[in-house]
Subunit: 213 residues, 2 copies
């Protein structure tokens, strides 16, 4: 046998999104939300995750405004940053996890490296887009910081993955965004990760650029 | 309310793997396979994916030997490379997707950038560990290259994600590894991605370092 496949990247992407539309229940989402949900489904290969995506009322609108304003994009881990489509942004996203001072700071504050790295976010937080794809501690920590008066991002994309704290951190975000005055997009439950998180950013970047599927 | 969480990374990881053992059917896997499957489950937050993981008979053994021999690790996309735990490797993994000549080469061969980038793998293929987490075209293309006589990797971790070609490319790998003389680890179906792929590499790296959960 020969290993034959479709080599045209445009055709692959068009066909992908056609299949995603066919296989995913998108009835409860507006135009921009639909683009985000389709890209999340695309990134995990699982139409069922659509039922777990949650948007605060103005999440997409605030995200698009932030993109228009060339907002800082703050990522908890390098994989999230890596997954963001570079040709659609004019400014490199920030991730401080590999900052040389972070391991020592993590030991000092007796917390995760991700929490330590978040200390470097402070000057960039206001009106930023925060993307958390890995660490529940980062999401919990951010909510606590904001509760204590830290500047507010324009949008929090909170999608940590895993068995300890991930679902709980996203529940906390989803239950308290309103009282904290936040806008958010999240994926409830244990699923999540860097790919879904950067897919969410990429969907908004594509909407901003007028590239709808 | 306060946003409280477990801040100790060792405790988070131990608790995670304890919960994964409780929630995942691991009965059909040997010691090393179990470590791989648990890390895959950890990376997607979904115990059910365990049923979709497939190992060729000597996949883990050959992967561990390759690690011992300081083999080249070839990644289809930067996110896979980014996800590999750097402190457990002595040599930077390879990814040629952002090589400056790749876009022009992709146009010339009328194929995806990933396929074009794969042309740079040739001198490193022999006894390498190939990790494909994104592009079905790369996995199909690699199988075709090997069929036509290219050097064989020690292990193929083939886990592209998506709706067009991903499941088919992994079926092709799983159905033809034996006649092509290959060892492989794959995740059947549409699910996959950079996180599961690098998690698989990381599980083997940890086994090599004696770090079992």
């Amino acid at each position: 046998m020969n290993f034959i496949y479709e080599p045209n990247p445009q055709k692959i992407e068009e066909k992908s999104f056609q299949l995603i539309r066919e296989q995913t229940d998108l009835t409860s989402f507006d135009k921009e939300q639909t683009q985000v949900v389709m890209r999340i489904v695309h990134s995990v290969g699982l139409p069922e995750v659509a039922t777990l995506v949650r948007f605060s009322p103005n999440a997409c609108q605030k995200g698009l405004e932030a993109i228009k304003n060339n907002a800082a994009i703050l990522c908890d881990v390098e994989m999230v940053k890596q997954g963001i489509t570079k040709r659609l942004i004019s400014k490199e996203p920030y991730c401080f996890l590999n900052h040389p001072d972070v391991p020592a700071l993590a030991k000092k504050i007796k917390n995760t490296r991700t929490m330590a790295a978040m200390d470097y976010w402070t000057p960039y937080l206001k009106d930023s887009i925060v993307v958390i794809g890995n660490a529940p501690t980062a999401l919990f920590g951010l909510l606590q910081k904001i509760k204590e008066g830290a500047d507010k991002p324009a949008l929090i994309i909170g999608m940590p993955v895993g068995f300890v704290g991930a679902a709980e951190s996203k529940d906390a975000l989803w239950q308290h965004f309103e009282e904290l005055g936040l806008e958010c997009i999240t994926l409830l439950g244990k699923q999540g990760g860097s790919a879904v998180s950067s897919a969410t950013v990429n969907a908004l970047l594509r909407c901003h650029a007028g590239m709808y599927f």
